[in-house]
């Protein structure tokens, strides 16, 4: 009968209960979104880095991949040296460059990656084939900008000599395929060519140089151990494991987590206060009834249970509605944030993780239980005769 009484008490003021549930739902949705934001970027970034199985990024000593223009010299020897290290299963060299596609629509500037197509992890081929010598695979954005199609030949330059007003490192390359670039946004104009082609186009400055190496290690090998071995073998490089990159990224994005934590805590407090207020108001309205229930022999625990059940009912219903609301708002916010220029397609700001989500909502429901306890105990502890006397006078 406690559940029946609690449910009927909530139904007694249906509009107030509905508004309270909506309030808790908004609070729950915000809490959920903050949890999704706090964990989403990390998971999403980790997933992005873990794609294609590369566990180490080897860049010029003291730099982060593509953080500077610095390059690693004697790339061929470095590749061979790393391949000899125990536990290393693949080494993918990458050289970043800016290219200009010349033609009828005027020069189109794009980001180019020189790679070894047999081991690369920078793009996913959507159509056509990997680039042979003097060929490239292009992103949709680049194909749109140039109007090129697979099979077309493009006039591509690696640089522009401003004093002579001429393009340097020109070369005619065939479009061999269409690709999605893993670490770039869909709007980036990008191309991948063979490493040797990009090195040759860059002239002496780029000969036998790379921007970084991506390294795969065997599943039973600790990437940090392999990274240490690489740094000992090649003193001019830094080897960053995926875990290290994630830790650094987390450090750089720590304000996101702090913001999420603060807003999540605020949501929790708002939900708690909302349930406390509603239950307290409801109890105050029923002081006389509660005193009568106690007078006719209804136990304190019954009164406490009934009122706490009301708090749980509000919290649970609100949390369930908040789950749906939170997932929808997260999708909406994610679509907005992913529209920021320069972000990889694969990055999600909000990631729904059932365990984290349900833990957060369980916390909200627990706060709802706590919210009901004070007014419940207060109601159950009222002096019966004094309350009846006041009610009779009132």
């Amino acid at each position: 009968m406690r559940f029946q009484l609690a449910a009927l008490s909530l139904r007694r003021h249906a509009s107030r209960t509905l508004l309270a549930v909506l309030g808790v739902a908004v609070s729950a949705a915000m809490l959920l979104d903050m949890v999704m934001l706090a964990t989403g970027m990390r998971q999403s970034f980790a997933s992005l880095l873990g794609r294609n199985g590369f566990t180490l990024r080897v860049s010029p000593r003291g730099t982060w991949p593509f953080d500077t223009e610095a390059t690693i010299a004697q790339a061929r020897d470095a590749t061979i040296a790393m391949q000899r290290i125990a536990g290393v299963t693949a080494v993918a060299p990458v050289l970043g460059a800016t290219i200009h596609v010349l033609g009828g629509r005027g020069p189109v500037t794009a980001f180019a990656l020189g790679v070894d197509p047999t081991v690369q992890g920078d793009y996913e081929l959507l159509e056509g084939r990997d680039p042979p010598a003097d060929a490239l695979v292009a992103s949709d954005a680049l194909l749109r900008a140039t109007g090129a199609r697979i099979g077309d030949t493009l006039d591509v330059a690696a640089g522009f000599e401003s004093q002579l007003r001429t393009y340097t490192g020109r070369r005619r390359v065939v479009v061999s395929g269409r690709a999605r670039f893993t670490y770039l946004s869909a709007d980036d104009r990008a191309a991948a060519l063979q490493l040797a082609t990009v090195q040759a186009m860059g002239g002496a400055d780029r000969a036998d140089r790379v921007s970084l190496f991506m390294v795969r290690t065997a599943p039973n090998v600790n990437p940090d151990v392999a990274g240490g071995a690489i740094e000992r073998a090649l003193p001019r490089v830094s080897a960053l494991s995926t875990g290290g990159v994630i830790a650094e990224a987390e450090h750089r994005l720590s304000y996101f987590r702090q913001l999420a934590f603060i807003l999540g805590a605020v949501s929790l407090i708002v939900g708690f206060l909302l349930v406390t207020t509603i239950v307290t108001v409801s109890v105050n309205e029923r002081i006389g009834e509660i005193a009568i229930m106690r007078a006719i022999g209804v136990s304190r625990s019954h009164v406490v249970h009934q009122i706490v059940i009301e708090g749980i009912g509000l919290s649970l219903t609100g949390a369930a509605a908040g789950l749906i609301l939170g997932v929808f708002t997260a999708k909406w916010l994610n679509s907005i944030l992913r529209g920021f220029p320069g972000l990889p397609d694969a990055i999600d700001f909000f990631l729904f993780q059932p365990n984290s989500a349900f833990r957060a909502l369980a916390l909200l429901v627990a706060s709802g239980i706590a919210a009901g306890i004070y007014p419940a105990w207060r109601a159950a502890s009222l002096p019966i005769s004094a309350t009846l006397r006041e009610e009779a006078v009132g």
């Binding site: 009968m1 009568i292 106690r294 007078a295 022999g297």
Partner: protein, 233 residues
């Protein structure tokens, strides 16, 4: 008196602390009520009638003195035991009925039985039987808002009888009723007493007091007169 004392009050005092000086609501009341008696406690407002009734019903404790009901010293019971004692031994009827508005008449009557963990089928049958006793079987599925004041009070009486109490305590049970519905309640109390129920009522209602077999007059927290009335035919 028609049997052994069921209620015993000995030198009961009840003081309420106030900032200036305590209010002495009940001052040294002693009385016995026998099994099957029908007692009315009368007196002016503020004379301590309701306080004495609360002491008799174990919903309040005397500051001094003792109250024994059916052999149990209720004035010394801890809250949990007192609550249980009220549930199983005492029936309460209040001036304002105080039915739970969210429950039907039937469910209101079932409430004390549910608390006493009476089986569902048994309490349904008992509630129907009691509503029949008070003449409201046809209104069993109505909520209090759909019942008249007299009907609500009769449901409250049925609720008070649910767990077969040894005594029925009523605080101004006709106070919110008009003369006609009030007389229905008086008749019901009379019938209950004839069926063996011990009843103690606090009232200003002369008709109700006149229906009792014994009238206790109070003034300023004290019993000033305790007179048996001649039994009516």
């Amino acid at each position: 008196m028609s049997g052994q004392p069921l209620l015993l009050v000995r030198d009961a005092h009840r003081d309420y602390p106030r900032s200036a000086e305590p209010v002495h609501a009940v001052r040294g009341v002693s009385l016995d009520v026998a099994q099957g008696e029908y007692v009315a406690i009368v007196g002016p407002s503020g004379c301590g009638k309701s306080t004495l009734l609360n002491l008799l019903g174990a919903i309040d404790r005397p500051t001094r003195g003792g109250v024994t009901i059916g052999g149990t010293a209720v004035s010394t019971l801890p809250d949990k035991a007192a609550t249980r004692f009220r549930l199983t031994n005492i029936g309460f009827v209040f001036q304002r009925f105080y039915l739970l508005p969210v429950l039907t008449a039937q469910e209101n009557v079932e409430l004390p039985m549910a608390e006493a963990k009476v089986k569902l089928t048994e309490r349904r049958d008992r509630a129907r039987e009691l509503l029949g006793y008070v003449g409201l079987q046809a209104r069993a599925d109505h909520r209090p808002a759909e019942l008249s004041g007299g009907e609500q009070q009769r449901v409250a009486i049925a609720r008070a009888l649910a767990n077969r109490p040894i005594v029925l305590l009523a605080d101004e049970p006709t106070g919110e009723l008009d003369a006609r519905t009030g007389s229905d309640v008086i008749a019901l109390f009379d019938r209950l007493n004839r069926d063996g129920m011990t009843i103690v009522v606090v009232t200003h209602d002369e008709n109700l007091a006149g229906a009792a077999r014994r009238v206790i007059h109070m003034l300023d927290g004290r019993v000033i007169r305790d007179e048996p009335l001649l039994r009516r035919a």
